[in-house]
């Protein structure tokens, strides 16, 4: 099996010795992605996902270590890599507003040397699949954020890359736009065996649903890397409890307790939903006592199936968001 991506002990530091900002975005990470794999990088904002994608996309040099993409070194042989890759970034909506959707896509297809007939056919197919055909001749400045992001996903795929990087492709999109993109990604992987996709996300469901393997990354380090089902099996000795309470002070600062591996709280109005990962169910009574002592009232308590978020909590001790 050939690797589409080989990352070997890569460190990336921003800022030099004299600079105000000095941060280690990637800290001695190594990973391999097989050709034909849909690989996910899962981690919170600032974990180093985008930094790694930038290195893989030849936009950034590693400070230490070596990276090979499709068999080529990203530092010395970037020209050989670029013809075979593409990248879609979510969150920042790009495109030339004065051009139409079709013109934007056409220009990029021509930069990649796609024969005009093939480019036109692919553009029409993709525009139709994303429900954008009726907006094809609209200027980009006039379409919605979700439509712009769909256009960008099409831009990434219109060049038929061997390897595509999707950096938070559904970030900030509404449910329908996110579903359309996820559905397309799933179909693309199924229909084009041999093509590789690297997806970064901090949406657990997205990673769980789409990826063959997932690397969990936090503070520039890879904490675990396996298939979603194997990662969840890591928690076979752990149990997950969801507790709904009224909001109370100190929700985010539970004291350490024997048997409590980690937790993640979310406030919803005047209530709080907290997910606890425990390896000894006896600790639940201690947790309930703590909540009561702080003035919180238990509204509901339930045991649930492990998710990738639980794996993250188990590994890091806190939630993703």
């Amino acid at each position: 099996m050939r690797y589409a991506i080989e990352v070997d002990h890569v460190t990336r530091v921003f800022g030099g010795k004299g600079d105000k900002v000095h941060a280690k975005a990637l800290d001695d990470i190594s990973l391999q992605v097989d050709e034909g794999e849909l690989f996910g990088l899962l981690g919170p904002n600032g974990a180093g996902k985008t930094t790694l994608i930038k290195i893989l996309a030849t936009l950034l040099l590693p400070s230490e270590g070596s990276v090979r993409v499709l068999g080529h070194d990203v530092v010395k042989e970037y020209n050989k890599i670029r013809a075979r890759i593409n990248m879609v970034s979510g969150g920042e909506i790009s495109g030339y507003g004065l051009l139409t959707v079709r013109e934007n896509l056409w220009m990029f297809s021509q930069f990649y040397g796609i024969p005009p007939k093939v480019a036109r056919q692919r553009m029409d197919d993709l525009l139709e699949r994303f429900g954008l055909l009726d907006k094809a001749d609209a200027k980009v400045r006039t379409i919605s954020t979700g439509q712009k992001q769909k256009m960008n996903v099409i831009r990434g795929f219109v060049t038929d890359p061997d390897l595509i990087y999707l950096d938070e492709p559904t970030l900030g999109l509404d449910v329908n736009a996110s579903l359309a993109i996820r559905s397309f990604l799933r179909k693309w992987v199924k229909d084009t065996p041999g093509k590789t996709m690297l997806l970064t996300t901090h949406y657990m469901v997205e990673a769980d649903e789409l990826c063959d393997r997932v690397a969990i990354i936090d503070q520039g380090r890879i904490l675990a890397c396996d298939s979603p089902s194997n990662l969840k099996r890591m928690l076979k000795r752990a149990t997950t409890f969801d507790i709904e309470t009224t909001a109370f002070p100190g929700l985010d600062s539970m004291p350490s307790m024997d048997g409590l591996q980690g937790y993640n709280s979310k406030s919803v109005g005047d209530r709080a939903l907290t997910r606890f990962v425990v390896n000894d169910e006896a600790v639940i009574s201690e947790i309930i006592s703590h909540i009561s002592s702080k003035g919180g009232r238990i509204i509901a308590l339930g045991k649930s199936e492990a998710t990738l978020e639980d794996v993250f909590i188990h590994l890091v001790g806190r939630g993703l968001e």
């Binding site: 936009l59 990248m87 495109g95 030339y96 004065l98 990649y112 040397g113």
Partner: protein
């Protein structure tokens, strides 16, 4: 080899097309035409008024007036193309957020910027022609197309524009590394050329050290050649400081100095490009 050439021509073609869409497509064609005529003509009035205030009438010194007028008209290429080309990087990076996508495409980014420059040249050429036509018709600027040495003019124009374009690309490279100050740097460089290259006054009025700087910059020779080609009836030799050199010599100086600037520009661009990848500057956001 043939594939690489085809790819490079394709890059220039489509980036020039993109540039033209950006330059011309922001309003309706009629308004674009009116803007294209009014802007250079009114810009010219500044120069004419300055001349009139100092010397009373443009007819007082027709040689100096033609010297200034033609120099000023062609300097539009320097200001618009050089400044505009460098701005391409900032605009793609921070306004349209497309720099990353263009940068990782299998094209030469250097040539992408050159293509964008071509569209700016086309728009500026229209302004230069309008300015010259206005000068001939309204202000008696002695452009004489019947006596123009067209071959010399064509070669000189091409080399000069190529030189301006490559300096612009070098500044585009610098823009990779700079935030909002990039426009200041570009305006500063354009201002230095205005100061040292005999645009609206002869370089002979400058101190010797400044004249030496002017003589090292191809724009000086380019403007001289443009004046000699388009206004053959007037003798600028006394005032320009380049009177001792023949047209061919000026063309040779232009060629040699342009080659030096081309090599320097490619070096600056490549180094800035490498530094931008090393320092992670390709997607910084500083303005918008």
């Amino acid at each position: 080899m043939r594939d690489a050439l085809r790819r490079d021509l394709r890059t220039i073609r489509w980036s020039a097309w993109l540039g033209w869409q950006m330059e011309s497509n922001w309003t309706n064609p009629l308004l674009f035409l009116v803007y294209s005529i009014v802007k250079p003509v009114f810009g010219t009035f500044i120069l004419v008024f300055m001349f009139v205030i100092i010397l009373g009438d443009v007819a007082t010194d027709p040689v100096l007036f033609s010297y200034m007028y033609v120099g000023n008209a062609f300097y539009m290429f320097v200001a618009q193309v050089m400044f505009g080309v460098a701005y391409v990087v900032q605009e793609d990076r921070e306004r349209f957020k497309t720099l990353k996508q263009v940068y990782i495409a299998p094209i030469s980014f250097f040539l992408y910027v050159v293509g964008r420059a071509l569209s700016k040249m086309a728009v500026t050429a229209l302004a230069v022609v309008i300015t010259l036509v206005f000068g001939v018709m309204a202000l008696d600027v002695a452009v004489d197309l019947g006596q123009t040495a067209w071959l010399m003019f064509g070669i000189g124009l091409f080399i000069g524009l190529a030189c301006i374009c490559t300096i612009g690309v070098a500044l585009a490279g610098v823009t990779f590394l700079t935030a909002r100050h990039s426009s200041g740097i570009n305006e500063g460089i354009a201002g230095l050329f205005y100061l040292f290259c005999g645009v609206v006054y002869p370089i002979t009025v400058l101190p010797q050290w400044a004249q030496n700087i002017g003589l090292a910059i191809p724009i000086t020779y380019w403007l001289e050649l443009m004046r000699r080609s388009l206004v053959p009836s007037m003798d600028f030799s006394e005032m320009s400081g380049l009177g001792e050199y023949s047209d061919l010599s000026i063309l040779l100086f232009l060629t040699l100095s342009s080659m030096a600037f081309l090599i320097l520009s490619i070096g600056i661009f490549k180094y800035a490009d490498h530094l931008a990848r090393k320092k992670g500057k390709l997607d910084m956001n500083s303005t918008y």
